[in-house]
């Protein structure tokens, strides 16, 4: 067993039953020589520390300040992001879709949980859960209301169902009142949800 990464004080709830089964499977995989537990630790550490919405936020902020980059990003997301060595390695098949006053984009995966991990990190629970997966393609305005946001009634809502290995990142509209802001300042306004299409960037007064 791999005592180094588990505390095991709690009761035998349904959860600890799962925990025991997961531990047993890892023990078997380790004993059979398929995986090295330290390599699993390294995977987890990478997902906990290296990837996250900060990667996507930097891309969005650059697109807001650099028209040539924005154009390239909308033409070929993977290629454009690949030119930014300091941002995460996005891999292939990233499509960036732009919000405008006429069109609001939202991303879902109705069949499972496809999500641009390299840009946004691992998806939140709600993105992978039945309410969002079932309703986003039929009642996106109702879903937005669950997030406490709305878009004008005449704005087109475009929902991208991620049914293949293409991945979608929403380029939200730049908030008003940010003229002259640096990329770094702007990146702090870009929320995860604004890049999924279930929210908007923070406004300057509310920046944290």
């Amino acid at each position: 067993m791999n005592e180094h990464h588990h505390d095991h004080d709690h009761d035998h709830s349904e959860l600890s039953e799962t925990e025991l089964r997961v531990r047993a499977l890892e023990t078997i995989l380790t004993e059979k020589g398929y995986v090295e537990p330290a390599a699993l630790d390294a995977i987890i550490q990478a997902y906990e520390t290296k990837i996250g919405p900060h990667n996507g936020a930097r891309v969005v902020a650059k697109a807001w300040t650099d028209p040539a980059f924005k154009k390239a990003l909308l033409e070929d997301g993977s290629r454009a992001i690949g030119t930014l060595g300091h941002v995460s390695r996005v891999g292939d098949h990233l499509v960036v879709v732009e919000n405008t006053p006429e069109r609001h984009n939202m991303v879902v995966c109705t069949l499972c949980s496809c999500y641009p991990w390299e840009m946004l990190g691992l998806p939140p629970v709600w993105y992978k859960a039945s309410p969002y997966r079932s309703r986003a393609v039929k009642d996106p305005r109702g879903v937005l209301a669950d997030f406490g946001v709305s878009v004008p009634k005449d704005t087109e809502i475009r929902v991208w169902d991620s049914t293949a290995e293409t991945r979608f990142l929403v380029l939200p509209m730049r908030p008003a009142g940010t003229e002259g802001w640096s990329e770094e300042q702007l990146a702090a306004l870009v929320t995860r949800d604004s890049m999924i299409g279930t929210g908007f960037p923070r406004t300057p007064g509310a920046a944290s």
């Binding site: 629970v125 475009r158 991208w160 049914t163």
Partner: protein, 219 residues
């Protein structure tokens, strides 16, 4: 397969509940499951489409009542048993009872971690010219395979417009069943919300899927 995983358009699941300041993992075991799936996939025990199919085969009542990583765990365990990487007896015993089966890419050790942090590549050379052009009207086929497919039920039989051509990609319907990559052209096809959901649907809604060429007929 027409499983409960194919949720687009279903009613009754309630409100979306965002969690403020959500942690990356809620329990340590979730992170171990994620890491085992990534590691065993990278070692060559299965491809991503097969792993999705095994999650889809979880019985509906279990699927709907299990957390996300619980589904990953259940799918992983069944798949590894089915592919001969471990036995049900070993799972019951909680330890290995015989030597492991050879993995296509060998043991997953620390040296392999870096390579899985970049997404896999799914584009392949085209075996034939594309049948459809951007702007073409296409009808999603009314098909109901009992095996893995990425054509959601809610678009089947409906007409949409080809908006993007992503080139040729590994065909999940074949890859999931371990019948080879069978590359196919992949298109973004956009549907009017009212065509999918009827006259009462949101008139401002458009929904797109990414559809492989075998899913589509000219319309």
């Amino acid at each position: 397969m027409n499983g409960v995983h194919d949720m687009g358009g279903m009613d009754g699941f309630g409100k979306v509940e965002p969690e403020p300041n959500e942690p990356v993992f809620h329990e340590a075991w979730e992170s171990r499951v994620l890491a085992m799936v990534r590691a065993m996939g990278a070692a060559g025990a299965f491809n991503i489409d097969t792993s999705r199919f095994y999650r889809e085969m979880i019985p509906p009542h279990v699927y709907l009542s299990s957390s996300y990583y619980k589904k990953w765990f259940l799918g992983l365990e069944e798949m590894l048993i089915a592919k001969g990487y471990l036995t049900r007896e070993e799972v019951t015993a909680g330890h290995a009872m015989k030597p492991g089966k050879a993995l296509m890419h060998g043991k997953f050790d620390l040296a392999n971690v870096e390579r899985i942090m970049v997404r896999g590549q799914f584009a392949r050379p085209a075996p034939a010219p594309a049948k459809f052009n951007i702007g073409d009207r296409v009808r999603a086929k009314n098909i109901h395979p009992t095996t893995h497919t990425r054509l959601p039920r809610y678009v089947r039989g409906h007409v949409g417009v080809v908006e993007l051509n992503h080139g040729c990609h590994v065909f999940p319907d074949s890859a999931a069943m371990e019948l080879g990559e069978n590359p196919q052209w992949l298109y973004t096809v956009v549907f009017e919300g009212r065509d999918l959901w009827g006259a009462d649907g949101d008139p401002t809604l458009k929904v797109s899927i990414d559809a492989f060429e075998p899913y589509l007929d000219p319309a």
